[in-house]
Symmetry: C2
Subunit: 338 residues, 2 copies
């Protein structure tokens, strides 16, 4: 689970997430065990498909937030393991359903579950993982954690429907786009962080602070993800450049390029993304238009704005190793793009 | 919501469900209001699609069980409304995902949501309704009800995956088939009934009795449903005869016909259901084979067996209007076929 690197708190170093990884390492091993245990079923397809997802090489940032927040709150029980596992299952269920809805063939450079096992299995195993997630939450007997995470589940699904309804609309405003990612991505980051404080029985202001940290970190994370999809560095992360473009997804780099563009340029975006008529050169043209309008640079700039809010949300906490690690995680998420 | 008919307790009358409907009528109106309120969203597609389902003309048997069980336990609060609504949302979410997985075009003689709004919306709105269901359960603050219903959610999804993996296999045994419908249908009937006793704070033996009642009623209900699909009476219920056959579904009438049939007959079932090669006359041949092997009559006979267990499960309760109504519901479910 990563190499432990001792270094001074953000002193002229490349931002990295090693401190966070080290702090949560032991508990994350328990989360991994819980994931495997709860994806167990005598229905063979379930552990098979779940295993594929578990080994997908994701960083598991969301459950790490739950663990780190609980540890920062001095929690010493085991319920944070259950909540972190539930958070990862909710996320995994969303990915399974997303890939079906988006008809995606690749995720992180690997075939999607739907391509291997089919759309039907992906829908149903997603439902199964969601059911398991709720079972684990109930085991913690924390009604507050249940309230927060079930609320997030409804918001996430609502955000997905919203995105579906608005999909391929190049005239989407930045506000509307932020609403979508606020629901699709940031809601689970917020809930994941908040329930860590809840399980540690921390006061309301700390719960709210962690919720705000998670929400803004989530927005920043998603914006950087959107920028990465048009960046050469993408391939280093095991992803393909231009996936969003090929799928006609309207993300902030597109929103900015469209709004700042000429009438001809807007026709280009409409043709390629709304009408889905793309030729071989179009991705290169998209890159050029984004460069011309500074769309990638400004998307990262927007991400920095939300990163700053996340940073300030943590200001009420006294200095600690965990606080430093959570702050470094913000920098890490944003710096992925450079 | 049905006509109120006063009649003597099951004295030589056609079995009907009017007593149950009358007892729960007021509370079911509140459930209907809660359904509409919680399917509300500023994302237009959600209330639209939910409205389609809400007006689908289903009897809402599952939430009626929750209400009736809570009333029988003397419950006087409002949490049973929330649980009943959550149960109906769980059921609706399952239908939405089922229709996507089965590629169904019609349900109760109406176009399915996936045909009108697409598979993508059906998957996502299903997720949304599931999220809303959990939010409502959490509002009741009953960890026991949450445990029971989240357990049912996982079991239902597991059953769906099981069915998918075993689909079109004509050599399915009756046991294996019962396992599927135990998970797919009976688990929610059981949970719906049990949480009514839980919310009324009734003792463990009554909770277990209602869970057993619901489970066995659910099995009987599903078996009769399977028989109806090959029965002329089906059209009276707004359904099409032979849907299961056309979709290659292996239900008990097929399991019995296959096992009791000659080698030639087994080849017929393999060709039509496993390989999906059907010609115009095949449904009539299927009818004839089922008639020959008494497959429909015996499927109903099996349903009666589970109905009897459901009846005995209720024996520990003192006589009451509610108990009579729940017993009549068993007869009603089974007699739908005659």
């Amino acid at each position: 689970m990563g190499v432990v690197v001792a270094f001074e708190a953000s002193e002229g170093r490349e931002p990295n997430i090693n401190r966070l990884i080290t702090l949560v390492e032991q508990d994350m091993e328990r989360v991994n065990e819980a994931i495997l245990a709860h994806a167990h079923s005598h229905v063979e397809m379930i552990p098979e498909l779940a295993g594929h997802l578990v080994n997908s090489g994701g960083k598991r940032l969301r459950p790490m937030l739950t663990i780190a927040a609980a540890q920062m709150g001095g929690y010493e029980g085991l319920h944070h393991i259950r909540l972190a596992t539930a958070v990862e299952f909710m996320h995994t269920a969303t990915l399974l359903h997303d890939d079906v809805v988006d008809e995606s063939d690749l995720r992180r450079g690997r075939k999607t579950a739907r391509l291997i096992w089919g759309n039907q299995a992906s829908v149903l195993v997603g439902d199964y993982l969601l059911g398991q997630a709720f079972k684990m939450m109930v085991e913690t007997k924390s009604l507050e954690a249940l309230r927060i995470l079930s609320g997030a589940a409804a918001v996430i699904a609502e955000g997905e429907v919203l995105q579906l309804a608005a999909s391929n609309d190049t005239t989407t405003t930045e506000d509307a786009y932020l609403e979508v990612i606020g629901a699709k991505t940031a809601a689970l980051f917020a809930a994941a962080s908040e329930v860590g404080a809840v399980v540690a029985d921390r006061p309301q202001d700390e719960q709210a602070a962690l919720s705000s940290y998670g929400r803004n970190l989530g927005v920043a994370f998603q914006l950087v993800d959107d920028a990465l999809d048009y960046s050469g560095k993408q391939s280093l992360l095991g992803k393909t450049v231009g996936d969003d473009f090929r799928e006609g997804k309207i993300t902030l780099p597109v929103v900015l390029s469209y709004r700042r563009g000429s009438q001809d340029e807007r026709e280009f975006w409409k043709r390629t993304l709304e009408n889905g008529e793309q030729s071989d050169d179009d991705l290169q043209i998209a890159f050029a238009l984004m460069e011309k309008h500074q769309a990638i640079v400004d998307t990262i700039d927007r991400a920095r704005h939300y990163g700053a809010i996340a940073r300030d949300a943590l200001a009420i906490f006294p200095e600690s190793e965990h606080k430093t690690a959570l702050l470094e995680a913000i920098e890490f998420c944003i710096s992925r793009v450079h």
